[in-house]
Symmetry: C2
Subunit: 233 residues, 2 copies
DNA sequence: GGAAGCTAACTGTGATCACAGATTGCGGCA
DNA sequence: TGCCGCAATCTGTGATCACAGTTAGCTTCC
């Protein structure tokens, strides 16, 4: 059965594409949003029953997510959300700094009024959320994600966006687990500050500054998580 | 049936992991090596029969490759090797320049005697192959790939390597199709020159130069392919 | 009371069958 | 001779069944 994620039945599927596609999106969204924690187990049969399907579409969806490293499937054993070693997390952080930083710099150059407006809106939403004394963590995670992807989308590169999505698929469970256990980090405002710096860099067309801001945001969160020693090794 | 790739039966599978895994590696290797051309169709049943399996493992393998964009599968239609638009190719090239360039720079910093020796060996093999008047194209493609991945492997980042592999999965069919139609490009020596520059940059610990060399190699090949107008749009 | 061992339930993997939509090629008509 | 249309075949999708290895819980014995 599903561990730590009992409320699975409330989940409905979108209505686009094949059943496999829908299950894939369903699981991927939950992974990025941090609805799963590292080490969580799920079973093909349990998921398929909860969703009212046969296990076939679930199999394909899980298989794809496993190919992307978002899930781990060992033969004859339950599917698990991967645990991550500190070294691996450092590695992925370094890659994220480079790639997401690049996307931010591109977003600067491609700067259009519409995408700038979208980024501003997301920045404001996240800032207002973190200023609340009792912020809803799930909302905050979603708002943070929305801001980042507004920036990355503004870069105008579908390839880059797909790569970044896959990276978030991997780090989603970890970042969320961290924030859930350390809600005070939200109030420290490191993220808010980085977002603001990124926004003004994009406004003023300074690609290097935008890259730096995103890099600082990612590195800051990563350093905090690593300092908490919740990862293997 | 398989178009343009009649000799499918000669292919054997490796012996590791589940059947799905083996089929995946089998198809992925052939995609990277350029054994498929854009637009090629393949059928789950044809592949499974050629490999002597049921269609289940093939389904899963194809499903994973489709998730990575290496294959396209439209419901009720044959699986195809994706055609690529010029704009998309430009996009992917820009991403490759950034990411593979970054990997080359990392390889510089991580510089170990063993990996340097491996890179040198691959550089020599590719150079000698291109100097031959009647070079075997398939061999040359493989040698080029071997050189690049020797560099990327030296970067010491598993995450980066996985991302780059996925990128090559996408561009493999196109690069190979190009080289097959323009074998003279090999003799022009742009690649040989870039490889040599990259190698000495790594030897002399100059990350920016290594990045530049890889970027020049990728951009050069990309510009040539785009100039040939074989892509859509 | 506690630990070891066995059994029953659960795991993913693979094969086979059924189905609906797409494709293709052949036959007939103009 | 050339084109249109129908039918047989091929496509991926999904469900169900069988199987072998894993896991976990219960019983039994010390």
């Amino acid at each position: 059965m599903l561990e730590r994620i009992p409320a699975y039945t409330d989940a409905m599927l979108d209505e686009a594409g094949t059943l496999s596609d829908r299950v894939y999106r369903h699981l991927a969204d939950r992974l990025i949003a941090g609805r799963f924690a590292p080490g969580d187990k799920l079973s093909l049969r349990a998921v398929s029953e909860a969703l009212g399907l046969s296990i076939m579409p679930v199999r394909e969806a899980v298989s794809r997510l496993a190919a992307e490293g978002a899930l781990e499937v060992a033969p004859k054993k339950a599917v698990t959300v991967p645990l991550m070693r500190a070294a691996q997390f450092r590695d992925i952080t370094q890659v994220r700094v480079e790639i997401e930083g690049f996307a931010a710099a591109l977003a600067c150059k491609a700067n259009s009024p519409e995408s700038l407006a979208r980024i501003e809106a997301r920045e404001r939403e996240f800032r207002e959320l973190s200023e609340q004394p009792q912020a809803d963590l799930a909302q905050a995670v979603a708002a943070n994600q929305a801001f980042h992807f507004a920036v990355y989308r503004a870069a105008g590169s579908a390839e880059l966006l797909a790569i970044i999505e896959r990276l978030w698929l991997r780090v989603g469970p970890i970042i969320n687990l961290d924030l859930r256990e350390n809600p005070e980090r939200l109030r420290l405002g490191g993220a808010v500050q980085a977002h603001r710096a990124c926004l003004s860099a994009i406004r003023e067309n300074r690609p290097d500054a935008a890259r730096e801001a995103i890099a600082a945001d990612i590195s800051g969160a990563s350093a905090f998580i690593l300092s908490r020693q919740r990862l293997l090794d």
